[in-house]
Symmetry: C2
Subunit: 379 residues, 2 copies
C-alpha cells in the first residue's frame, strides 16, 4: 500500500428536502451570493424556486450567472468571475450537475486570486485561496460534489482538461435524489457510465490497494444493479438515491486511498471526443472504455480478468470486456463512435486531435501508435 492522506472537507447533506438547510448554511459565509446555473432546466423543475426561497429567507443579495453549457467553457467562467468580483460576493452557490459545479470551482479560484481561469486550469499559477462554494446537485454522475476536481474546455486552445486542487472541495453539498427525477433516461444512463468509469480509473491506477479495489468493485456492482432498475422507473426515490450516492463515492477519495494515483487515460480520450463533437461525457466513456481495455488486454490481463471475475464471475480479460460492453449496451449507451453517428470520415480529425493534445494516462502511457489504435478500436 502506498502512503496516503485521507481527508475530505466537504459536508454533504443527503436526502429528502435537505435544501431546507441551504439558507442557514449560506449564512455561515455571508449574504452576497453568486448563483450559478445552466440553461434553465432548474426553473422548469422547480429547484430554482426552492433555492431562491432559501436565499430570500436570509435576505441574501443574489447575483445570477446562468447559461453554463453541459461541456462547460472557460469563457463562461471568466465572465462569471468578472461579475463575482464586481459584486464583491461572499459565497458561490452552484445549482446543477458537474459542468455547473466545476465552473463554480474555477470561478471561485479566479475571483479569490484575481487570475485568469485558464492559467489555473493549466497549472501555470498556483491559487492560494478561494471563495466558499456550496453545491446543489441535480445530476448524479461526476462526483464533483465531494472532490477537488474540475473539468473545463477552451475553444481557443482546442482543449478539454481537468484541474485538481484541495481548494476545490465544496464547503457544503446538498444532494436530494428527487432533484434528479427530471433527468432524462439517456443522461441518467450516462451518469451511471460516468460513475463506473471513475471507479475504473482508480482500479487501473498505480499501487496495490486491496480494500480500495474492493470498494471499486462494489460501487460498480451497485451501479450495475440499480442503474438498469432506475432506467425503467425514473422517479423511484430509492434507485435515484442509490445511484446518486454511488456516484459520489466513486470519486470522493475512497477508491484511491493506498494508490499512487488513478490512470485517467480513458477520461482524456473522452474529453477530446466531447470537445470535438459536443458529445455527452458519459457517452464518450462507454465508447472509450471498451477500446482502452482492448488496447491493454495483453499488457495487464490479470488485472482486467480480476475485475471481470468480481463483476461478472468470468475468467478472462476478453470476457470482462465483452460483459462490460454488454452492460453499456443494455442501458442504451453507445460503445462505438458509429453508434453516435461519427463515421470513418471523421477518423483523421479524431486522430489528429488525440496526437495534438498528446492524450495520455497517468499510469498506462500511450505511444502515438496507441493513440491511433485507440481511435481504430472506437470506430
Amino acid at each position: 500500500m502506498e502512503n496516503f492522506t485521507a481527508f475530505n472537507p466537504t459536508k454533504l447533506h443527503f436526502g429528502r428536502e435537505v435544501i431546507d438547510q441551504l439558507g442557514e448554511v449560506t449564512l455561515e459565509f455571508g449574504k452576497r451570493v453568486l448563483l450559478l446555473y445552466g440553461k434553465g432546466s432548474i426553473k422548469k423543475s422547480g429547484i430554482y424556486d426552492k433555492v431562491i426561497k432559501q436565499l430570500n429567507s436570509i435576505d441574501a443579495d443574489i447575483i445570477e450567472y446562468s447559461g453554463i453549457k453541459s461541456n462547460p467553457l472557460v469563457t463562461d467562467v471568466s465572465e462569471a468571475a468578472q461579475i463575482g468580483k464586481l459584486n464583491n460576493i461572499d459565497v458561490i452557490i452552484a445549482v446543477g450537475g458537474g459542468s455547473v459545479i466545476d465552473s463554480a470551482k474555477i470561478t471561485a479560484l479566479a475571483i479569490a486570486n484575481n487570475i485568469d481561469p485558464w492559467a489555473i486550469m493549466k497549472y501555470k499559477v498556483k491559487p492560494k485561496s478561494t471563495i466558499p462554494l456550496i453545491a446543489v446537485l441535480t445530476l448524479a454522475a461526476t462526483g464533483t460534489e465531494m472532490n477537488g476536481a474540475a473539468v473545463l474546455q477552451n475553444p481557443e486552445t482546442d482543449e478539454k482538461i481537468g484541474y485538481v486542487s484541495s481548494l476545490n472541495y465544496p464547503k457544503h453539498s446538498f444532494l436530494d435524489p428527487e432533484f434528479t427525477f427530471s433527468v432524462p433516461k439517456d443522461y441518467t444512463a450516462y451518469g451511471v457510465v460516468d460513475l463506473i468509469a471513475h471507479a475504473l480509473e482508480a482500479y487501473f491506477g498505480e499501487g496495490k490497494a486491496s480494500l480500495s479495489d474492493r470498494f471499486v468493485e462494489v460501487i460498480i456492482k451497485e451501479a450495475m444493479e440499480f442503474g438498469p432498475m432506475l432506467l425503467k422507473d425514473l422517479k423511484n426515490y430509492e434507485y435515484r438515491a442509490n445511484i446518486m450516492w454511488a456516484a459520489t463515492t466513486a470519486l470522493n477519495g475512497m477508491t484511491n486511498y493506498g494508490r499512487k494515483n488513478g490512470d485517467w487515460g480513458v477520461h482524456d480520450i473522452g474529453h477530446n471526443i466531447s470537445y470535438l463533437y459536443d458529445t455527452a461525457h458519459g457517452a464518450t466513456l462507454s465508447i472509450a472504455y471498451p477500446a482502452w481495455l482492448k488496447l491493454q488486454k495483453d499488457r495487464i490481463p490479470e488485472r482486467i480478468t480480476k475485475l471481470g471475475n468480481q463483476l461478472f464471475g468470468t475468467n478472462s480479460a476478453e470476457e470482462t470486456i465483452l460483459n462490460l460492453e454488454k452492460f453499456f449496451k443494455s442501458i442504451n449507451c453507445p460503445v462505438r463512435l458509429s453508434d453516435i453517428n461519427i463515421g470513418n470520415d471523421k477518423k483523421a480529425e479524431i486522430i489528429n486531435q488525440m496526437l495534438k493534445n498528446k492524450i495520455n494516462g497517468m499510469v498506462h502511457q500511450f505511444s502515438d501508435e496507441d493513440r491511433k489504435a485507440i481511435v481504430d478500436l472506437m470506430m
Copy 2:
C-alpha cells in the same frame, strides 16, 4: 435510504514514516502539548522517542500523562484534565490504541468546558468546544482515529459506556502500520474481531442502505482475508496496513450512511463483560456476537442469511453463525465465556450486571428475558 450527513473532519496521514510530519502539524495548534499514553509499551517500541523528537524539533513544552489502562478509567481522564488545565495546554497528542485516544477525547472536552468527564459521558452536560486532538495510533482496532466516539468505564457506577460527539474527531491522525508491528498475536486478533464487530453493528442497524451494506461486506472480507495471514507474519507491512485501514473504515461513517443508526447491542454486552473481568474488548465481542446472532436468528433470519451468503457463500442464518464462530476460533479468539475461564459460577453475577445496566441495542431492543438468554448463550 435514510437522510444523512456525510462529513468527517479528521485529516488522516497513513503510511511509512508519516510521523515525520507530527511536529509541523502540532505547530498549527500551539506548543503547549499534553502527551497522553498508556503503560509504557511505546517506550519499548521506540515510538515514544520518535514523538518526542518531533516535538523537540518545534521546541514544544511537553506535559506528560501516562498510565492509561487498556479498559480506560474516567479517573485517569479527570486527572489528565486537571493537569491539562493547570498547564494551559494548546493541544493533546494521544499515542496509543483506542483506550488512550478515547481518554484524550474526553480529556479535551473536560478541559475546554471545565466540566466533569463523567457528566459528559452520561450526556448530562453538552460540551460547546474542545481542545485540538492529534492521534498517533499504535493498535488497529477501534476506529477512534477517525470518528467521534469514545468509551470509558467508571468503577463508582459499575459502568463502561460510549459517548459520541462531533467535537470528538481528532484534527489529525497518524497511522504508520509499522507502529503496530509489536502488537502481540492475541491483541492483533482482537483488533480484527473489533473491526468486524463495528462493521456488523452498522449492518444490523436500522434503514435500507444498499451501498453501505456492500462496504460492510467487503471490509469484513478484507479482515477475514488478511487477518489470518497477518497472525502468521506479524511484521508484514502490507498485512498490517490492510488491517489498519480496514479498522479505520469500519467505523469512520461510511458503513452507516443511509441508515438511521447502528445497533450497538453487542458492544453493550461486551463492555459489561470487560467491566466485570477486565477482558480485552475484542475478546468480549467474539463471544458476544455469536450469542447475539443466535438470539436474533428467528427474528431477522433474512438479514443474517444475506450476511453469510456474502461472506461465506452459505444460505441460512445457522450457517452464517457457524462460519463466523469458526472464523473467530481460527484466529484463536474465544467464542464462549468458558474459553476465557469464566465459568457457570459467574453466571448470576453477569446476569445481574446486564439487568442492572439494562444493556440494550439501539435497534434490536432486549427484554430482561433476552438479557438472561444472551448470558446463557455466551456460557
